[in-house]
């Protein structure tokens, strides 16, 4: 198995690691870098639990190889949350709206919603549902999750 030396900025810190060519980005983050907030719900690219940002874009860490992020910037849920434990507005909204139950899907949702709101600070209901349709949750029925995002959109009154 060939190995490669890669250099990647993860949550703001440059990391140089030797990785087998077949190591997935998710396994790099979880097993080699100890960032276990990135969860694996399917490893088929279908559930979104492993969502992370690569150069600001949401990607599925289970579908990328670690070698593909050589030279890139990766942000995981640990990099989105603050070190002192203060919740970001997205995280706080999930808590306030009962947007998580078991919490397994939550890192992926928080990453996806954070990116969505950066791109589109005032998504309408349809845009919210479409943007989140690639993230699966088995616990909440999405009710609290959608409510959390609605509570965050700027300049828009709640409407059913």
């Amino acid at each position: 198995m060939s190995e490669h030396e890669i250099s990647v900025v993860v949550n703001g810190a440059r990391r140089s690691v030797r990785v087998p060519s077949r190591l997935s980005l998710a396994d790099l983050l979880r097993d080699k870098l100890g960032l276990t907030g990135t969860h694996l719900g399917c490893e088929h690219g279908a559930c979104g639990a492993c969502s992370v940002l690569v150069n600001g874009e949401v990607v599925r860490a289970c579908l990328m190889f670690a070698v593909q992020v050589d030279g890139d910037e990766v942000t995981t849920i640990e990099g989105i949350g603050s070190e002192d434990g203060v919740l970001t507005p997205v995280q706080a909204a999930f808590r306030d709206c009962h947007g998580l139950q078991c919490g397994f899907c939550t890192p992926g949702f928080v990453v996806t919603v954070t990116a969505l709101l950066e791109r589109n600070p005032a998504p309408d209901d349809g845009e919210i549902r479409t943007a989140l349709s690639g993230n699966l949750c088995r616990c909440t029925g999405y009710q609290g999750i959608i409510e959390a995002v609605r509570s965050l959109r700027s300049g828009v009154e709640h409407a059913d």
Binding site: A46, C47, L100, N135, L136, G141, Q143
Partner: protein
């Protein structure tokens, strides 16, 4: 840490001629490969607490030996330094299979020449039937006899976190540590103790942040059993996390079928009803499946008043994964009854809401002993129906439906009402313990067995403890999910946690309040009887000026001159009632696109009665999750096999879970007026959403398509199924 990977059968049924592990063992980084011959003989005693040791023991080899019995059946375990190496080596384990005819179809299994397990004739795993003679007259004299047949596809719990565990055997002291993804840490420990013949106190099971369970993680599965046995073979922590494909193809498969007959009089009042039920036990059911199948029959009358009933049920072995619990394991009774009621309404020409009004129990009819001898208490079936009908504006919807039809659009409305036995007083589930400790600083810790898999037991425990001691929620913390720290409790199952935890906390807090009063009395030099414990302090009622804060009381208790006993209490709660009955009525409205077969849910209303709510967010969260699982079961999810038993949906690309674009906003109405006989009047709410939803959705779709004379008899109602029915233009 070592990593484990299973070698699984690619065939549904085959003789294992040989297993050759030599090549796999030769791979660098592989620590060993175990087969059934290596470990199956190490089982000391294997039975499940939920059903006890006395039910018939269905075959449950840890690893397949001699024969594989479903595609996905574990044959060997490869242990290596890393997961990638373990998977590589698993592919090198050479198993020589001689294919046999697989038993897949539920009905055909009964007459098949092939037996899933030698010695289980007709592939019958378990069966039960009640007498029917007393119904003959009612059927003979009925103005209407309605017969329906309903098939529910295999769909599965699918927690987003798959199954998995880490085991670590310590040979020096013969102790075992287990980090499990389980709904029941203490039961997992008891089970492991029996299985391995290792004393219970030498085993520690830790379950933290389990990523969803929904019944799948109540009992130890074969994979857990194999890892527990394997622990003693490897002197290092050993980890197994299954992948999604394994979870879909090998964790469980509920699949049911039923024939319903109802006799109604000219006014549309049900006089008698029967259900003949078949349930897929798969190859290796866990635990003995007659318990949930019998519940299908016994609860089939649901909220209906009729007094003449009967049922039969058969659990059938097939070459598919074994049956395990899934949220509301007897849900089929609601599907079968509610779909039959709608069929009856159409056959007789009565509105389905009106038909229910003529047949449903109101709170004033309770207690009521149903046709199968179950006594229903403390519920509001008809009342929740009326509440839901009002919220959905039923009459207005019927007008809109007519107008839409005139324009070629097909709207439908579906009702589903159910009654649910929560917190069942089975020996193993009827008892729960708590320890509450006021720490020396005055903060509070409540220790509970736990087993939360996303059902907010932590929040609930903190809230209940704060209420019981009358302290701020901010000073209460909870410790759960570790058998070394917490009192025995049987975990999350059967919608029991809220009520049982409330009972345990109530009993314990009562003792602790007395103790707080004693210590405060001693410190203040008064009698304990005059001490009031409230608002986070203890004081003499007549003289609140001298109030001691809980921190001051704790200081006296731990460090005062007579400090003995600290400030903590432990107690257990035993439930008294056989069940705490909860109920709900679900109403769903849909639009069906007859060109594409696509169903869009327009509104979804739940009127429920789980008694007083401890925390409305938690209650509604549980209902929402369950309803959406039920919607998935009605419309999307299908764990299908081909005729040879090959699974056809082994990724989330084929096995369709509902996503944000499939689900409606769920509207909740709470009826808190009929508290149960348990602590606080609380009743269970964890499973009901998943019980009510499939029938509500199925009835709504059938109602939408009623102009085409379509009777829907099989789930899921996928676009392809609906288009086929529309093309046939009739019953199917």
């Amino acid at each position: 840490m070592l990593h484990a990977c299973f070698v699984r059968s690619p065939l549904a049924r085959a003789r294992i001629a040989s297993v050759d592990v030599e090549k796999a063992c030769a791979v660098a980084g592989v620590r060993g490969v175990l087969t059934g011959a290596d470990i199956n003989g190490e089982v000391v005693d294997l039975w499940y607490s939920q059903v006890g040791p006395d039910v018939p023991r269905t075959p449950l080899p840890p690893l397949a030996e001699g024969e594989v019995r479903f595609a996905g059946d574990p044959v060997a375990l490869v242990v290596a330094d890393d997961r990638y190496v373990a998977e590589d080596a698993a592919e090198l384990v050479a198993v020589d299979y001689e294919p046999l005819d697989a038993v897949v179809d539920l009905h055909a299994a009964l007459d098949s020449d092939s037996l899933v397990h030698e010695g289980w004739a007709g592939n019958v795993c378990a069966e039960l039937a009640t007498p029917t003679d007393h119904l003959a007259e009612a059927f003979a004299n009925a103005a209407h006899v309605v017969e329906t047949e309903i098939h529910q596809q295999a769909y599965v719990a699918c927690p987003l976190e798959t199954r998995g565990l880490v085991v670590e055997w310590s040979p020096a002291d013969g102790s075992l540590s287990v980090w499990a993804s389980s709904q029941s840490p203490h039961d997992f420990r008891q089970f492991a103790s029996r299985l391995l013949g290792v004393a219970e106190h030498k085993i520690r099971v830790i379950c933290q942040d389990t990523g969803g369970g929904f019944g799948q993680k109540i009992n130890a599965h074969r994979e857990d059993i194999v890892l527990l046995l394997a622990a003693r073979h490897f002197p290092a922590p050993l980890k197994y996390i299954e992948d999604r494909r394994e979870n879909l193809m090998a964790s469980s498969s509920r699949r049911e079928s039923g024939r319903v007959r109802m006799a109604l009089n000219a006014e549309g009042v049900v006089q008698a009803a029967t259900i003949d039920h078949l349930s897929n036990a798969g190859a290796y059911p866990i635990p003995y499946p007659l318990i949930s199948s019998a519940a299908v029959g016994a609860i089939f009358p649901g909220p209906l008043k009729y007094q003449l009933g009967a049922f039969s049920t058969k659990c059938v072995f097939t070459n598919t994964p074994g049956l395990t619990a899934y949220r509301g394991p007897w849900e089929f009774e609601t599907l079968a009854r509610e779909v039959s009621l709608d069929a009856a309404a159409r056959q007789i020409g009565v509105d389905p809401a009106e038909l229910r009004r003529r047949n449903m129990l109101s709170r004033h009819d309770l207690p009521h002993t149903n046709a199968l001898g179950m006594t229903l208490t403390d519920m509001t079936p008809l009342e929740t129906l009326e509440l839901a009908l009002e919220a959905v504006e039923y009459e207005v919807f019927r007008q809109e439906q007519d107008e839409a039809r005139a324009q070629g659009r097909y709207l439908g409305i579906g009702i589903s009402s159910y009654v649910e036995p929560t917190t069942t007083n089975m020996p193993h589930h009827g008892s729960e313990g708590a320890t509450i400790r006021v720490e020396p600083s005055g903060t509070v810790n409540v220790y509970l067995a736990g087993g939360s898999a996303g059902n907010s037991l932590e929040t609930t425990a903190i809230q209940l403890t704060a209420d019981a001691l009358d302290v701020d929620v901010g000073v209460v913390n909870t410790v759960q999910g570790d058998t070394a720290l917490t009192p025995f409790g049987s975990g999350t199952a059967g919608s029991r946690s809220g009520s049982m935890v409330a009972g345990a906390i109530r009993e314990t807090a009562a003792i602790l309040r007395n103790r707080i009063a004693e210590v405060a009395a001693d410190a203040l030099g008064v009698r304990a009887e005059v001490i009031e414990v409230a608002g986070g302090s203890a004081f003499v009622e007549a003289n609140p000026i001298n109030a001691l804060t809980l921190a001051e009381v704790a200081h006296h208790a731990y460090f005062g001159k007579d400090a003995a006993g600290g400030l903590e209490a432990s107690a257990r709660y035993h439930t008294q009632a056989p069940n705490l009955w909860a109920n709900a009525s679900h109403i769903c409205t849909v639009e069906v696109d007859i060109e594409t077969g696509l169903v869009r849910i327009l509104r979804y209303v739940v009127a429920e009665d789980c008694g007083p709510m401890i925390n409305p967010n938690v209650v509604e969260g549980q209902i929402a999750g369950g309803v959406v699982q039920g919607i998935g079961g009605a419309l999307l999810e299908h764990f299908e096999w081909d005729v040879d038993g090959n699974p056809l949906a082994t990724t989330f690309v084929d096995y369709l879970l509902p996503s944000t674009t499939d689900v409606p906003i769920i509207e909740y109405l709470h009826m808190e007026g009929s508290p149960g006989p348990g602590p606080g009047g609380f009743k269970g709410v964890g499973e009901g959403g998943a019980i009510g939803a499939p029938a509500a959705v199925a009835n709504a779709v059938a109602d939408a398509l009623s102009p085409f004379g379509v009777e829907l008899r099989e789930l899921p109602l996928s676009p392809a199924t609906l288009l086929r029915h529309l093309a046939d233009g009739g019953a199917g």
